[in-house]
């Protein structure tokens, strides 16, 4: 973990570099042990920390990441939510504007916690093998649970192809953070020698290398403002025995 002051200097330099400024010398020295994809991931996080509005480029093609994320959800997500949301998710995936907005919304959701979380890139994996792996797991699971139906064969093939086409040659970079959200994974892709971030998640399925967080970390996340649960309250009904026994006391 870099000292805070150095990290701030690095952040300023990286944001400058990302916006075309040429004051990145300090950053290059600090990060020259990292792979280009990791440097891009750190730059992206520093960009979020600086609250700039340029972290997600409007021309970014994030459809490949969305395809990868949907397959990860099918492979490890809740079957209940898949049943409820899959048709709509597939329809929305066909809308590039929505996909772009979803990425921006995800970045904005975690901007505040990431700002103080002290995140640093610690690992990276080439994303192409992960795309094939997630497709195999998702296919097998959909069949096993009875969720494989209709034209899913073409849908899955399309998602795999789109992910390879858009993310091919890129990396999935892991960032470990000292505070909530504790872990962040970003997808990078390379174009003309330039690495850019095209996707972000704070939860990676176990079969892709996501690990179980500690109890404290999970509690921390469940109470974070980014999930909107901390201020929610249970509804109490007058005359009931107890919130755990929500029926009239006369019948108890």
């Amino acid at each position: 973990m870099l000292p805070v002051v150095l990290r701030s200097v690095a952040a300023l330099a990286l944001v400058g570099a990302a916006s075309g400024c040429q004051h990145g010398t300090v950053t290059a020295n600090l990060q020259n042990d990292l792979a280009p994809a990791q440097r891009a991931a750190n730059s992206f996080v520093h960009c979020i920390e600086m609250n700039t509005s340029h972290c997600v480029q409007s021309q970014d093609n994030v459809g490949g990441w969305d395809a990868f994320y949907i397959m990860g959800w099918l492979g490890g997500g809740s079957p209940t939510s898949i049943l409820a949301a899959l048709p709509n998710e597939l329809a929305l995936h066909g809308d590039p504007t929505f996909v772009q907005r979803r990425f921006v919304a995800e970045v904005e959701r975690y901007a505040a916690p990431i700002r103080g979380a002290e995140c640093d890139a610690t690992d990276l994996q080439p994303i192409d093998p992960l795309i094939d792996q997630v497709a195999v797991v998702a296919n097998e699971r959909m069949v096993r649970l009875g969720l494989w139906q209709g034209d899913m064969t073409h849908v899955m093939e399309g998602l795999v192809d789109e992910a390879h086409e858009s993310l091919g040659g890129g990396f999935l970079v892991r960032l470990d953070c000292a505070h909530n959200p504790h872990h962040v994974w970003v997808a990078t892709r390379e174009e003309d020698g330039h690495h850019s971030v095209v996707g972000l998640t704070t939860l990676l399925p176990h079969f892709l290398g996501g690990d179980r967080a500690s109890r404290d970390d999970i509690s921390d996340r469940l109470q974070s403002r980014s999930l909107g649960l901390a201020s929610a309250q249970a509804t109490l009904v007058s005359g009931d025995v107890d919130p755990w026994l929500p029926f009239p006391i006369e019948e108890f």
Binding site: T80, A91, G146, D161
Partner: protein, 279 residues
């Protein structure tokens, strides 16, 4: 490529020219009971579920309990040995003293559900369905139920035991849990607090109502039914029975006892021995 994928998606979702196929696909996508049946059949076999009448199953988090593991949905989360947990160290956060292994597994699951709710615009499930092998120790099932309930953000979920019905198919028997810290009833609340403690071969019936002075012991489900029918005549407005199984009682034992008294006291509440007090 995106255009090809889009075409495939729309062929899956809403081809106006083939409305019959579309409707069929939509119905299959809504098939929670089919998914549950597929999973339970493979994980433990529907014949091994306890028998009861139950209600139709509705979507929620499903948990399966076999002799050697607990799964949340289809993911292995905790290993068991003969239906019991080796390390029963309680989670500090769990007021019912539920095991940390169970609490942590459910808390992780609720976090995943919360993140899914933000990304995919779905609700965090409000229902938990536990499909337990009928030979599972009832206290294991209850420790899981408390862990699921106490780790859920905002409020405890509604709980259901997945049962096999003689009418065919899987059904869901709703149940409640006595609050983890026990329950203090208001003075003059007129609560009966009817409780059946189940130990091997013995049912001990008590109540919190001061007028219910005796403790009754019976040995068979038929005797239990006769006793509770008599109590029902004295307390016709009461609908609730609290069942407190001991460590040797199985889920199947509990449900065999409950099925006989369900028509008298249809609302099932479980306890792991928390106090019920009247000031």
């Amino acid at each position: 490529m995106l255009s090809l994928l889009t075409a495939a998606i729309f062929s899956l979702l809403a081809p106006e020219a083939d409305a019959g196929v579309t409707q069929q696909q939509f119905e299959r996508l809504q098939g929670f009971s089919t998914v549950l049946l597929n999973h339970v059949s493979k994980a433990l076999g529907t014949d091994n579920l306890p028998n009861a009448v139950g209600l139709p199953v509705e979507p929620g988090v499903f948990v399966t309990v076999t002799a050697d593991r607990v799964q949340i949905f289809d993911q292995d989360v905790v290993e068991l040995s003969q239906g019991r947990l080796a390390d029963t160290t309680a989670a500090d956060e769990c007021r019912s003293a539920c095991p940390a292994a169970f609490f942590d597994a459910f808390q992780q699951s609720w976090l995943e559900a919360a993140i899914e709710s933000t990304v995919h615009a779905v609700e965090i499930p409000q229902r938990v369905l536990i499909a337990a092998h009928s030979e599972t120790p009832a206290q294991t099932m209850l420790a899981l139920a408390y862990a699921a309930a106490e780790s859920r953000p905002v409020s405890p979920p509604s709980m259901h035991l997945v049962v096999s019905s003689s009418r065919g198919g899987l059904r869901a028997q709703p149940f409640f849990l006595v609050p983890p810290q026990g329950l203090e009833l208001r003075q003059g609340s007129a609560a009966l607090g009817l409780t059946v403690k189940v130990s091997q071969g013995t049912y001990t019936v008590t109540a919190t109502d001061p007028q219910f002075v005796r403790e009754h012991r019976v040995r068979t489900p038929a005797e239990l039914r006769r006793l509770l029918a008599e109590i029902k005549r004295r307390y016709p407005g009461k609908e609730t029975v609290i069942i407190e199984p001991d460590q040797n009682t199985t889920v199947g034992d509990v449900m065999r006892g409950f099925v006989g008294i369900q028509s008298l006291f249809p609302r099932l509440v479980f306890s792991v021995g928390q106090p019920l007090r009247t000031p």
